[in-house]
Amino acid sequence: MKYTTFNQQSTNPLAEPMFFGNPVNVARYDQQKHQIFEKLIEKQISFFWRPEEVDVSKDRVDFQKLSEPEKHIFISNLKYQTLLDSVQGRSPNIAFLPIVSLPELETWIETWSFFETIHSRSYTHILRNLFADPSEVFEDIVLNEEIKRRATDISRYYDDLIFATQLWQTQGEGVHQVDGQSYTVNLRELKKKMFLCMNSVNALEAVRFYVSFACTFAFAERELMEGNSKIIRLIARDENLHLSSTQHILNLWAKGKDDPEMAEIAEECREEARDIFLNAVEQEKQWAAYLFQHGSMIGLNKDILCQYVEYIANHRMAAIGMDTPFEVKSNPLPWMNNYLNSDNVQVAPQESEISSYLVGQIDSEVSVDDFGDFDL
């Protein structure tokens, strides 16, 4: 089915499935098929923040005091997070918007992606403060083998879905030849790709950040790199919300509360979905090994970090109806919770380095003189 930016057929958005129904026409939020996405939009917008509002200048002094292995840990994590948010800042839009059928879900996807771009911008803010020229760090992201391996796995399911959608929307169902390769395109196959892709995104939001978060907060426990930690707390809060949305989508499908065919696919692809999650867990653990290859940091080592990933994974697998394959029963890093709760995450306005956010306020101060020519 060809995509149209404004579907002129009358549709009933209350009867559409989340994806692969009619394209959305009117962006209306007075009624919702799945209310949760409207609530997530409101919550996400209430979290709005700007990287520049967080003062990271003290981090420069701290960074000089770090040992070489600690510098490696800090910078590598920033590179990995930059990769993750580069992908997330565009992919939900490109992969999901052409096939979404509910206005509230369409807007949630756009809102979600937009916040990922704030995360990306914050890494530039952090790195600019540490280095006169951060180019070397950014350039290494497409060269570093460890990061590339992860990039392959993260983008694969998105790319697969995007390509199949393009074929379907331009050429319809059938077997299509592209560059000497043949591709079978039908709705069932597309829905399968969609299901696997959503599982891969869910795993990304669920576990892929947590090794890096733990390192950041371990520095903060030693009162180091606290500007960075403040930013990462804001990011972690957003990521938890994103995770909630992918969990809702997967559960709506699996419980037959949306498209009945997706419930069948969820059953059929159960093992594959589980493997996607476990593979993300495995990669996070390998990331911990890579980080600590030159030596560890105070308060953290590879083993405890891997246990923490398993602990988080158990919870998050259970949330989408999977088993809990890991032994670890209690939280190996209880202090992490102090950084992951949403109390006190707000940035203080007086911390701000720039004051452009006041512009709106100034403009709205209108005096009587401004209306001089009016007869009231």
């Binding site: 997530l40 919300l241 995770l243 909630s244 939280n331 919770n337």
Partner: protein, 88 residues
Amino acid sequence: MKMDKLYIIHLDEQTQLACHKDQTLLENLEAHKVEVHFHCREGFCGACRTKLIEGQVEYITDPLAYIDDDEILPCCCKAKSDLKIKLS
């Protein structure tokens, strides 16, 4: 302490905890040193997801995290009766 301010939380056959109805369930469990997983404490991350076997709760914040019909989010609800719960 007035009795009408308290409910009982049954964790298992042996464990019964007194619970203040003006505090969240999570705060109550923490006061009794029971380890409950949490992140946001605001109902959107799902970390505190818990099975409710018996009893009623009321939410002080609209829960946004995914929960099943028989589950509750202790971080943003208060007990409305004695409760039987099963921690994950």
